[in-house]
């Protein structure tokens, strides 16, 4: 968890590095509302305050100067307070958490990963079994606006024949294959590992035995070679050198 947080923090550093650290934070009231500095003349701007009159007079003077001067095609600059793409809009709207949540780690592709408890094959396209949400919007079912309980006489229509359903109708019991695989993996982990584990264990034991046996064998071999060397006076030095070389190899 701590690592995850650290990872997110690191990513956000990179993320904010794209926009530089000099970006001024939005005003507290504005961020609390989820909006940045209001556009001039926007819905929340209201009538211009009295303080603004000197500014407007100044602007008018400038406009007059501009009209009389050489810059007759000059337009007014856009307001500096307007929210543009120069600000990091994700941080502006406090969406860093969502960004880290969805873009920080890999989101699983299938719908069954999002709704793991939903029964049935939900990963198949809705057009296969005519269960798409799009069709529900485009062709809404013709029905009354209220839901009424099913009374005694209406319930007679739901009397069913005894016995199991034919296999092609058992859609509810079919689960997405990924789940099955997971289950199989779990099973294989519980059942299968026994055979592979045993050989690995035995191998390990064998290795241990080999290791345990090795010094004993060496001793025995050395003793045998010494005896041979004692009995064969023709090659007194060769035997000892061979023994040393053989021991060094093993």
């Amino acid at each position: 968890m701590g690592e995850e947080r650290a990872g997110h923090a690191g990513m956000m550093e990179n993320f904010s590095a794209l926009f530089g650290g000099a970006e001024p934070p939005p005003p507290a009231a504005a961020t609390a509302l989820g909006f940045g500095p209001g556009k001039p003349g926007g819905a929340g701007a209201g009538p211009p305050p009295a303080v603004a009159t000197p500014q407007t007079a100044e602007d008018a003077a400038r406009k007059a100067a501009a009209a009389s001067g050489p810059f007759y095609l000059m337009r007014e600059l856009p307001g500096n307070m307007e929210l543009t793409g120069s600000t990091n809009l994700i941080t502006h709207y406090n969406l860093e958490h969502s960004y880290n949540k969805f873009c920080g780690k890999k989101v699983k592709e299938k719908l069954s990963n999002f709704l793991p408890d939903l029964p049935g094959m939900i990963d198949l396209p809705g057009s296969h079994d005519n269960s798409s949400l799009r069709s529900l919007i485009e062709k809404p079912p013709i029905c009354s606006s209220s839901f009424n309980p099913i009374t005694g006489t209406m319930l007679t229509g739901f009397r069913l024949h005894a016995g199991p359903l034919p296999e092609q109708c058992r859609l509810m019991h079919i689960q997405p294959p990924k789940k099955k695989n997971k289950h199989k993996h779990k099973q294989s982990r519980t059942q299968d590992p026994v055979p592979p584990e045993t050989p690995s264990d035995s191998d390990h034991k064998k290795k241990k035995k080999k290791k345990e046996e090795d010094p004993e064998r060496k001793r025995k071999k050395k003793e045998k070679k010494k005896k041979k060397n004692r009995h064969s006076p023709e090659h007194p030095g060769v035997g000892s050198s061979q023994a040393s070389s053989s021991s060094s190899l093993r």
Binding site: A65, P70, L77, G85, F102, N113, D123, N148, L160, P164
Partner: protein, 134 residues
């Protein structure tokens, strides 16, 4: 915000569970389970009524139609959110790049024009007022 969805989520979970149980009863129906089936059917109706009641709390929620396409294709709808955020960030970066480049261009242009037309540029600066350097 999330509290709004809690009751709907709860109702939907109950409804799905009821449907699942209904499916089990129907898949191997026994005459003795008719009463249980009738009860489950009425639970389904009340479940739908409860879900319908949740509509009042969520009248201000709008869902993009593209999300339905993801669900219809059997894809995780969170992928839509992810792609949206990635697209927004990419566009944001592009626009920021353009704005920064235009600001640099403007300052360079003013600099060069000041060398060639110092008087006119002095007038221009007087009209525009003092602008902070980019």
């Amino acid at each position: 915000m999330a509290e709004k969805f809690d009751s709907l989520e709860e109702q939907l979970e109950k409804f799905v569970e009821n449907i699942r149980q209904l499916g089990i009863i129907v898949s191997d129906f026994q005459p003795s389970s008719q009463a249980g089936l009738n009860q489950k059917l009425n639970f389904m109706v009340t479940g739908l009524q409860d879900i319908d009641k949740c509509r009042q709390q969520l009248h201000d929620i709008s869902v993009p139609l593209e999300v339905f396409e993801y669900i219809d294709q059997g894809r995780n709808p969170q992928l839509y959110t992810k792609e949206c955020l990635e697209r927004a960030l990419a566009k944001n970066e592009q626009v920021k790049g353009k704005i920064d480049t235009m600001k640099k261009f403007k300052s360079l242009l003013i600099q060069e024009l000041t060398k060639v037309f110092p008087e006119d540029m002095a007038k221009y600066k007087a009209i525009r007022g003092e602008e902070p350097p980019p």
